[in-house]
């Protein structure tokens, strides 16, 4: 079973306690009424569908209940890091380098 580190609980726990919640760092447009249909559809539906390291949201649903962000490799399922929601996107090159050590 995959073990996921919850940045709020500070514990590494089985994936069964967590729920996947889609791609991370997608900002809702500040004024939706000024969006064209195309722009709004882009925000609602269009995702990167990354093959490899992917920035995504998870929720510790059977625990503290918080949403947080993670960088996971969609091919190998390896979690490079997890970080609290609202924190800046970590530098991918640095993460991969640390992971190779």
């Amino acid at each position: 079973m995959i073990q996921i580190h919850c940045p709020y609980c500070g514990e590494t726990l089985p994936e069964l306690e967590f729920a996947y919640a889609g791609e991370a760092h997608i900002d809702r447009p500040v004024s939706p009424t000024e969006q064209t249909d195309e722009e709004w559809a882009e925000f609602l539906f269009m995702r990167q569908n990354v093959k490899g390291p992917h920035f995504e949201r998870w929720r510790h649903v059977h625990g503290c209940g918080r949403f947080f962000n993670a960088v996971r490799n969609t091919i190998t399922d390896r979690f490079y890091t997890t970080y609290k929601a609202g924190e800046p996107r970590p530098d991918l090159a640095t993460l991969l380098e640390e992971d190779n050590k």
Partner: protein
């Protein structure tokens, strides 16, 4: 206080050489969400209103004069209060609304507590919990998964636990624990 509608009656579910599972007496419960805000509202005031120092690290607990609180999330607590005192605590918290907006919900009728004790209580819990029970230290509490349901587990000693479960899952989880306790006892025999 929310009325207690349907739940398991307090009783001993199973008592074997491995573990004893029982349904506890009804106790008052409050779900509390609060945090220190920019307008000077201080979280410490919440602890003061309840009568204990609110623990701030997830999983830790505090107890004073029969009232017990466990920190379940960064801004979330479950507070166990004797039934006779619950209105007093609710009034004290309600008085804080203007200075410290928070969410206080009486969840007395939502859950029932099971006590699980015995030499193999931790092994019994491991049949339904994906997480390692040993990672929950004595005197701590966690919300976690048990046999598909979210429960709150309080560890009171190496061999005794309390598990708060929602009423709708209670009979199912009790059956799991009963079967498990009997199987563990059969292995001992």
């Amino acid at each position: 206080m929310s009325k207690h509608i349907s739940s398991l009656a307090p009783s001993v579910v199973v008592d074997t050489a491995a573990a004893r599972v029982a349904v506890s007496q009804l106790i008052g419960r409050i779900s509390l969400r609060a945090r220190t805000n920019e307008n000077g509202g201080d979280l410490a005031a919440v602890g003061k209103a309840i009568g204990l120092e609110l623990p701030t690290q997830i999983g830790t607990r505090a107890k004073a004069e029969g009232i017990e609180a466990a920190c379940l999330g960064p801004d979330e607590w479950t507070v166990l209060v004797p039934l006779g005192q619950i209105e007093k605590v609710e009034d004290a918290l309600a008085a804080l609304y203007p200075s410290l907006p928070h969410s206080m919900t009486d969840i007395t009728g939502r859950e029932v507590t099971l006590t699980i004790e015995g030499p193999q209580a931790a092994e019994l819990l491991s049949i339904g919990a994906p997480r390692d029970i040993a990672s929950i230290k004595v005197g701590q509490a966690r919300r976690m998964l048990f046999d598909g349901a979210t429960v709150t587990l309080w560890r009171d000693s190496d061999t005794s636990f309390r598990m708060d479960v929602w009423n709708s899952f209670a009979s199912f989880l009790v059956t799991t624990l009963e079967t498990g306790a009997k199987e563990l006892a059969a292995e001992l025999a």
